[in-house]
């Protein structure tokens, strides 16, 4: 069928063998691809008795029916696994070139199971799989390894882990195309636990497009829409995401010093304006992307992609650090070692607070920029203080008897937006299936940027409907898979039309969003099966009880409880946060429970 290649590759690392079988096309119709198919396969393959770092866990790499078609931003792919950081379902997706090349090898999905006895790297060339000894590559950092294995953007693409993944850090990322990260939730540790260092792809297959004329027209229309939107044509390429620093600080929603404050006096020094003026070298883009939001920055020591807003915040405001070169270097170091910048920054911030309060014996203090690089190195190698920080802030804070100082939801470090000044964002973090995350729905568009329309950020009643719509739409976009930034210029309706033109199956916009809802509910079922309950849909006590004493969010805490009750009702779940039989039947999921 057009769009999909209808083939699944399953690799068993324990035996160094592989098999190829047909993709279940009814599943593909319902779950589309990417995150959706990943969640559906994980449901069958990894149950509650499986330790995420055991050979029984799997890594499921998926692309989608739009991947590699040349539609704007059709470069992305997903990885799905059980998270070693949170124990929840985990999917992470990434741009660059690898996803497009993976599709060209001829597969919609690749399942990696088992554990290799010795370090191994895999090469997939025109569909055939070769297992190579990686003993000599073990210990290599990401940039050098990517080069060594022959990264060539449009021809041959490298996905790998760095030392952090090898050392099973639960905040380790999988990296592709040198500096693109599948960062959140520790997928790099799962790859490390399998002794798998890298996957290199090279291929020539192309997906068939069912209605090429209609597709061409939609390509043209999308190009026009992206060019007409000030956000996708000017703002993203010109200022990058870090321009959010001053905005969030201005409205009093920039989490600062491990969420002890909501404004950072050093925000201007680490802002997008400062980054652009002093450190920006040039812009770059992922495959088939006319937006080109990637920014290359340079200090005396490093030159590389980023840092994005969240990374700048994590090492900046969250750690009380206003030294932008040190932040740029910390970001580059995390990319080279294969680490999630948000979790690493926020875990260091947690250690800083634990140390300042005398609960933990370390030299870490807020504002000490010189501590960033050595601490990050220590985390990746699990040496010295890194041995304690390598598993994220919740395990660290729990060890010292103060779990309340971990700024996490379901164990995943939250990003920059402080929920006390953004009520909807708080509900989003608390209900996100992979834990505290802004990429499984984001209320900043509605609550701050007026995208598509401004709503009151302090309002509580009625917020759940917006959050749910956002979550369902994001799950659909993650299943296509395209870049969420496209959605700033192009409505969901366009994605449905493109999906129909490519596959020949007529998807109305409502059906596409329903597919997103199906994915969300399946992920929820997965977490429930793992033992997560409504008590896990929460935020750190600081955000629920301690109001900021100054700034625009003064006096506000997250009013999660009433929003959560409304959320369950609006989702069609019972008061225990479990999807009702009726909802599951409506979504075609009833046979799963």
């Amino acid at each position: 069928m057009a769009g999909w290649l209808e083939k699944v590759l399953e690799i068993d690392l324990s035996t160094h063998t592989y098999k190829i079988y047909p993709l279940d096309m009814e599943m593909a119709r319902l779950f589309i691809g990417g995150r959706g198919i990943g969640a559906r396969l994980l449901w069958d393959m990894v149950g509650p008795n499986v330790d995420p770092l055991s050979p029984e866990n799997v890594l499921i790499f998926t692309n989608g029916p739009l991947t590699g078609t040349g539609y704007q931003t059709s470069n992305r792919f997903s990885v799905t696994t059980k998270s070693p950081l949170t124990g929840t379902v985990l999917d992470a997706n990434s741009g660059g070139f690898w996803g497009m090349q993976f599709k060209k090898t001829g597969y919609d999905a690749m399942i990696v199971r088992g554990k290799s006895e010795k370090p191994v790297w895999i090469e997939i060339k025109n569909g055939a799989v070769t297992f190579h000894d990686a003993s000599e590559l073990w210990g290599m950092r990401v940039f050098a390894l990517t080069k060594k294995l022959g990264q060539d953007n449009n021809k041959r693409n490298v996905l790998c882990i760095g030392p952090a993944g090898e050392n099973l850090s639960r905040v380790a990322a999988i990296m592709n195309d040198r500096e693109r990260a599948m960062a959140r939730g520790g997928p790099g540790a799962v790859m490390g636990s399998k002794n798998l260092k890298a996957i290199v792809v090279e291929g020539r297959e192309r997906p068939v497009i069912e209605d090429p004329e209609r597709f061409k027209f939609l390509l043209y229309e999308t190009r026009k829409l992206l060019a007409a939107s000030p956000l996708t044509s000017q703002a993203l390429p010109e200022f990058g995401t870090v321009v959010l620093m001053n905005i969030m600080n201005n409205i009093g929603a920039l989490a600062t010093r491990n969420h002890q404050q909501t404004q950072f006096e050093g925000a201007e020094a680490i802002s997008g304006e400062e980054l652009t003026e002093k450190y920006l070298v040039k812009n770059a883009a992922c495959w088939a992307c006319p937006i080109g939001c990637t920014r290359i920055s340079k200090t005396e020591k490093v030159e590389g992609e980023g840092p994005e807003f969240e990374s700048t915040w994590a090492f900046g405001a969250q750690c009380g650090i206003d030294d932008l070169p040190a932040i740029i270097e910390a970001n580059a170091l995390c990319n080279d070692l294969g680490l999630d910048t948000i979790s690493v920054g926020s875990t260091i911030a947690c250690a800083m607070e634990l140390s300042e309060k005398g609960y933990m014996d370390s030299d870490l203090r807020f504002g000490l920029a010189d501590m960033l690089a050595p601490t990050i190195e220590a985390i990746a190698s699990r040496k010295d203080i890194g041995a304690e920080l390598a598993d994220g802030s919740l395990r660290l804070a729990t060890k010292y008897g103060h779990p309340e100082l971990s700024m996490t939801a379901k164990g995943l470090e939250m990003p920059a937006y402080d929920p006390r000044g953004l009520q909807g964002q708080g509900l989003l973090y608390a209900t996100s299936n992979r834990g505290g995350c802004h990429m499984r729905g984001n209320m900043i568009g509605l609550e701050v940027l007026g995208l598509p329309k401004l709503i009151d950020r302090f309002q509580v009643q009625g917020k759940s409907a917006f959050v749910i719509l956002n979550q369902n739409s994001n799950a659909a976009i993650d299943s296509l898979v395209v870049c969420k930034f496209t959605n700033m210029g192009v409505a969901d309706e366009y994605f449905a039309r493109v999906l129909s033109a490519v596959t020949g199956i007529q998807y109305a916009t409502t059906e596409l969003i329903k597919a997103g809802e199906r994915v969300w509910n399946l992920e929820r079922l997965y977490n429930n099966r793992e033992g997560f309950t409504t008590k896990d849909d929460t935020l750190p006590p600081r955000l629920l009880n301690e109001a900021p004493v100054d700034g625009p969010s003064q006096g506000w805490v997250s009013k999660l409880d009433p929003m959560l009750k409304e959320y369950y009702r609006t989702r069609g779940w019972d008061e225990n946060g479990v999807p009702t039989k009726q909802k599951l039947t409506e979504l075609g999921l009833a046979d799963l429970v």
Partner: protein
């Protein structure tokens, strides 16, 4: 006088990060700010009102009504269209 803080490319157009401008409403201050500066006007206003995705805050709170009254100590911040997010 109320202070206006400017961000992103608005700084380039105004030649400053921050200005003090006379006015008793948000709209009045905006009018005085853009004055004869055509670049600034084009970046902020469309048909005399703030363009889509332009963010204006008064002491950190979003403003939609240009008739909102302001005091001497108030701070108005103006952001041109921007975007949010990060990698995965």
């Amino acid at each position: 006088m109320p202070v206006i803080k400017l961000f992103a490319n608005l700084r380039k157009f105004a030649g400053a990060k921050e200005l003090s401008v006379m006015g008793s409403t948000v709209g009045g201050v905006l009018g005085a700010l853009v004055g004869q500066n055509l670049q600034l006007r084009a970046a902020i206003l469309v048909d005399g009102i703030p363009g889509p995705h332009v963010i204006i805050t008064l002491n950190g709170h979003n403003i939609v009504d240009l008739n909102t009254a302001i005091d001497e100590q108030d701070v108005i911040a103006i952001f041109p269209p921007i975007a949010g997010g990060q990698g995965e």
